[in-house]
């Protein structure tokens, strides 16, 4: 069996990004081939630590491939490559920045060094900024830049404090030292959390997300709304589970922030009457929930929640972008009945939405079930009750939106005659395939979730904070 070096997933896109400049005419090809090769590389990665430049840790930078990183990389690269297959004229100008974004996102997942992580964070943000400016909303892009800059400054500030205290930037070493003497590190951890909170869209730091995603097209929506958000959450999952040690007070304060995000995000989504707005605020709320789980010692559940939300949001943002483009806007009234003339898209969107709302038959349900069950096992009834109330609100706005998109508008007999992507055959079939494959995957994992659950357990350990992770699987019922 081949054993490839994970640095390839970072280096390859980078090299392609710069060589592309010389071959402008086949830029598309670079993008597609580059991202497909990356999937190939990820499939042949072996778990382990990889030293860069031959320095032993904690002195050199290392890349760490564990189950967590491996499956995150897999999902990331598959979703990314799928997006690249939809490449359009507009994206041709963005080849380099897309490839750089891919390199940086891979790096964020892989790196075993906190400063290296900062570098990738910066690269990823800058690449995203260029991508975002393609929607021509410069004010929103500027907002994003300011927020991103503040975020990375906070991260750097926190990191500086930690370095001063512990004298290392290596993640594993940092964890050892912090576990030995955690006192005095709280301020730094808070600063780092705030820095990352900007990226994972926690309230009140996420105003940029509203500006960007409200106007996102079929390219930016999945990229920023699903892929970026997901990867940043995976980074948070890494840092706040494996590395930083928090005392109960800090954990409580940060959890409060995530709870506010959950409630506020759902309320804002409930109030919205535009498809992309609903998606973006529900994404904010979901981010709150994911971060809540990660902070409170349920990283395995948090992990599958991130992956399942990422997939569902990806499909929905993709289709929402196309719908908005074809119909010239995305308010519910304008789009009433759009799925009547596009049933395949409608099916994919519906499946993703139902999964996101946590209804059975879909993956989202299994995740929600396990999430609530584990919370209840630790004899907490208030948190599950709050989460269930939030999902009541979520279910209502999600179904209201989906039903509206299916409903025949008054007077129209055949539904809204907007053909999503009637023009280009290649794009049309690419969107069909991608959205169908991903939504069928959500059904498949909903029916047979056991593998996904056991991967999550393997990735994030069976035992955190003394709370055993008990999974309810389809095959065997409750199991340790």
């Amino acid at each position: 069996m081949m054993n490839l070096n994970p640095v390839l997933t970072i280096a390859l896109p980078l090299i392609l990004a710069f060589t592309k400049i010389m071959y402008r005419r086949i830029a598309n090809l670079f993008l597609i081939v580059g991202s497909l090769i990356n999937i190939f590389v990820v499939m042949f990665l072996k778990e382990g630590q990889y030293l860069m430049g031959g320095y032993r840790p904690p002195f050199g930078i290392i890349l760490q491939v564990d189950t967590y990183a491996l499956y995150s990389l897999l999902v990331l690269n598959v979703l990314f490559a799928a997006l690249m297959l939809l490449v359009t004229k507009k994206a041709e100008n963005l080849t380099s920045s897309s490839l750089i974004a891919l390199a940086a996102l891979n790096g964020l997942i892989l790196t075993g060094d906190l400063f290296n992580l900062f570098v990738f964070l910066e690269i990823a943000t800058i690449a995203a900024l260029i991508l975002v400016s393609s929607i021509k909303k410069y004010h929103q892009a500027f907002n994003y830049m300011v927020a991103g800059a503040i975020g990375s400054t906070f991260y750097l500030l926190g990191l500086g404090l930690l370095y001063k205290q512990y004298g290392t930037l290596n993640m594993a070493r940092m964890h050892e030292l912090m576990a030995a003497s955690p006192s005095g590190s709280a301020v730094a951890v808070i600063l780092i959390f705030i820095g990352l909170a900007v990226e994972i869209k926690l309230m009140p730091f996420s105003s940029w997300a509203a500006g960007v995603l409200k106007n996102a097209d079929e390219w930016i929506g999945p990229m920023i709304g699903a892929i970026y958000g997901g990867v940043m959450m995976i980074v948070v999952g890494r840092l706040f589970t494996d590395i930083f040690v928090m005392d109960a007070k800090v954990r409580l304060m940060l959890s409060l922030l995530t709870l506010i995000t959950l409630v506020g995000g759902e309320a804002a989504a409930f109030q919205s009457r535009k498809v992309r707005e609903v998606l973006l605020y529900s994404g904010v709320a979901q981010a709150g929930l994911e971060a809540l789980l990660i902070l409170n010692g349920y990283p395995a559940i948090g992990f599958i929640l991130v992956l399942s939300n990422m997939t569902a949001k990806y499909v929905m943002f993709l289709l929402a972008g196309y719908m908005a483009e074809e119909a010239g806007g995305d308010d519910f009234d304008r789009l009433t009945g759009v799925f009547r003339s596009n049933p395949v898209h409608g099916f994919a969107f519906t499946v993703a939405g139902l999964s996101l709302a946590g209804l059975p038959l879909f993956f989202g349900f299994i995740v929600k079930l396990n999430l609530l069950y584990n919370l209840m096992l630790s004899h907490s009834y208030w948190l599950p009750a709050l989460i269930l109330s939030a999902s009541l609100v979520e279910g209502i706005y999600m179904l209201r939106m989906i039903l509206g998109l299916w409903r025949l508008p008054e007077g129209h007999r055949g539904g809204l005659q907007v053909r999503i992507l009637g023009s280009s055959h290649r794009r049309k079939y690419a969107v069909y395939t991608i959205s169908m494959v991903l939504s069928l995957a959500l059904i498949l994992f909903g029916l047979a979730p056991d593998n996904a659950l056991s991967i999550a357990r393997r990735a994030r350990g069976a035992d955190t904070d003394g709370k055993p992770l008990v999974l309810i699987t389809m095959k065997g019922g409750i199991g340790q």
């Binding site: 907002n143 309320a267 989504a269 109030q271 389809m474």
Partner: protein
């Protein structure tokens, strides 16, 4: 054949039906009908000894007498409705996806009734909810499907919470085991009971959870409303039976406060159900639309069922089961008839109809049996169930609920006969002269339903014996007794056949008078004169017009629960607006401000 394969094949037929109906839309209705009739045959022939089939992970089935009874009920509703809607040419009904959703809802309900554990039950419950939500969404309105889904979701989340609370406290999800363990270690037992019963009440549309019923019943496709009202809303009763049988209130709140021999909680819930009866009746009287009227009457009838379940005596539980069946048969009939009427006239407003009995006498007869059963008059099944419930209320000396039941029965005469007379009796509107009798398919399904209503009403012993079997299987120490053709009551026996005989004698006398007496002359509706008031449209002649106007002022002052829900929704909206205003402004400076404020707060909190 086993239960698993029955359900799986229904699901697969649903998917296949979708694709076939896409090619040839008219086949969709046939597939839905054929599949549900085949299921009916199978469940009837297999009886409650039908094996559950191999376990497929969590999805395990076990057919119990209670589950079989419910399954038979829902398949009967779905298959007769399937036969009845064959000839329907409605737009919604012709949607290919309708066939799929219809069969999904049926298959999922069968899954609920035979589930071995709570998780499987919940999974099928939710599938039934979302498939029926989309089926309602195929109809005309906006509000119905969303409020149905919202309330159903509230109910299912309550149930999920209870299931997980049991699972985490007792390490089991097995239905009976979890509940009986809860009885022995009553930690979260009270919470579990309240939540489970709450979710049942949502489904049954008991006050204050009834608000989904009127919009959902009116806006659902005409062909789906019978299945929804007669079949799917009965899902709630199933879990209520399970919970109150295995986790009776007296078990975990035994010694503490009792009212009239019942634990205070039971009594309170019985009062709530009684309030639902009174309220549903009052609201039904007021309606102008036949479907809305039936929706409120369903809210009232759910009250009888819950009272029967909560009382927990052998008679009351039997009464609840029989009432469930009676109400299912009657509402399915009524909504099927309304579907025919709406298809032909385009309206279900009572004042726009009238005199239809002249045009569709057979349909009228079927509707008459349904209404008689709904009111609870012999010789219909509805009489038997109300008799049983009243008997057990009376024997316990529960005056208030008994008063509510009597009030509901008398009130139901007001509204049920009103719908009968405004729609079918009186004079035919000129524009309805061309109406035709229902199609043979509809008549067949109506014949089956009314036949069952009347047949079981005259000869209930077989049914009662089966409810006794259900009671025994639920572990009740006493079961309801039959003696020959009559049911044993507390202060006398019920011999329905005897009553039928008396009824027949009355009919013969009335018939003799009718045929002997001189006939009245038929006058056209508009062929009349008016005194003082100019009546220019047939509607104004109709006594159903503004029928409840004198009551309206009284009603206005009644507190409205739907206002509470509306207030909650607008509160959420306001919160969303506030969040957007505060945290999602397009000004980067505001973001920066928030970051600083939160940072300061967090660090301050840490340093303190």
């Amino acid at each position: 054949m086993n239960w698993l394969s029955l359900i799986v094949s229904l699901f697969l037929t649903g998917i296949a039906g979708y694709f076939i109906a896409r090619i040839k839309p008219s086949l969709g209705a046939w597939i839905a009908m054929a599949a549900s009739c085949a299921a009916l045959l199978l469940v009837l022939l297999g009886g409650d000894a039908l094996p559950g089939g191999p376990a497929w992970g969590l999805i395990r089935f076990e057919v119990t007498p209670l589950g079989w009874f419910f399954s038979l009920l829902i398949i009967l509703v779905f298959s007769t409705n399937g036969i009845g809607s064959l000839a329907a040419k409605g737009r919604q009904h012709r949607e290919p996806v309708y066939t799929m959703l219809y069969l999904f809802a049926l298959a999922a309900s069968l899954g609920v009734f035979a589930a071995e554990n709570w998780l499987a039950l919940f999974i099928f419950w939710e599938i039934a909810v979302w498939s029926s939500t989309f089926a309602i969404g195929l109809g005309n309105g906006r509000k119905g499907s969303v409020s149905y889904f919202g309330m159903s979701l509230l109910g299912s989340l309550m149930m999920l919470f209870a299931i997980l609370a049991m699972g985490s406290a007792y390490q089991t999800f097995q239905i009976r085991e979890a509940l009986t363990t809860a009885l022995q270690n009553p930690g979260p037992a009270l919470m579990v009971f309240i939540l489970m019963l709450g979710s049942s009440m949502v489904k049954l549309g008991i006050m204050p959870f009834h608000i989904w019923m009127p919009p959902a019943y009116t806006e659902a496709p005409d062909e789906f409303a019978p299945a929804l009202a007669g079949g799917l809303s009965k899902l709630g009763a199933f879990t209520a039976f399970l919970v109150s049988a295995y986790l009776p209130i007296s078990g975990f709140m035994g010694g503490s406060w009792r009212v009239k021999g019942l634990p205070a909680l039971s009594y309170g819930l019985v009062l709530l159900a009684s309030a639902s009866i009174v309220f549903g009746t009052l609201m039904a009287i007021r309606q102008e639309d036949a479907k809305k009227l039936l929706a409120y009457s369903s809210a009232a009838n759910g009250g009888y069922i819950i009272i029967g379940i909560l009382m927990g005596t052998s008679m009351s539980v039997s009464g609840a089961l029989v009432h469930l069946l009676a109400h299912a048969l009657a509402t399915t009939t009524a909504f099927s008839v309304l579907a025919v009427i709406v298809r032909q006239t385009g309206t279900s407003r009572m004042d726009a109809l009238g005199g239809l009995a002249h045009r569709m006498p057979l349909t009228f007869l079927a509707f008459l049996t349904a209404i008689l059963s709904l009111v609870g008059l012999p010789p219909m099944l509805g009489f038997v169930s109300k008799w049983l419930i009243l008997q057990s209320l009376a024997s316990q000396g529960l005056f208030l609920p008994a008063a509510a039941v009597v009030f509901g029965s008398i009130g139901s005469m007001l509204y049920a006969f009103r719908i009968l007379s405004t729609v079918f009796l009186g004079q035919l509107k000129p524009r309805h002269r061309a109406l035709q009798e229902s199609s043979p398919g509809v008549l067949l399904s109506l014949a089956i339903l009314s036949g069952a209503t009347m047949g079981l009403g005259v000869y209930p012993s077989g049914l009662i014996q089966y409810t006794a079997k259900i009671e025994a299987s639920l572990g009740m120490s006493e079961t309801v007794q039959t003696a020959g053709l009559s049911i044993r009551g507390i202060n006398g026996n019920l011999n329905a056949l005897l009553i039928m005989g008396a009824f027949l004698i009355g009919m013969v006398i009335a018939g003799a008078i009718f045929f002997k007496a001189p006939r009245s002359r038929k006058v056209d509706l508009m062929d009349t004169y008016t005194a003082g008031e100019f009546i220019y449209s047939p509607e104004l002649y109709h006594y159903g017009t503004q029928f409840a106007a004198p009551f309206e002022r009284i009603y206005e002052k009644l507190p409205s629960i739907s206002r509470v829900y509306a207030a909650l929704a607008s509160l959420t909206d306001d919160l969303g607006n506030l969040v957007k205003y505060l945290f999602f402004s397009p000004m980067p400076s505001r973001t920066a401000l928030w970051i600083s404020v939160v940072t300061i707060l967090l660090i301050w909190g840490e340093v303190l």
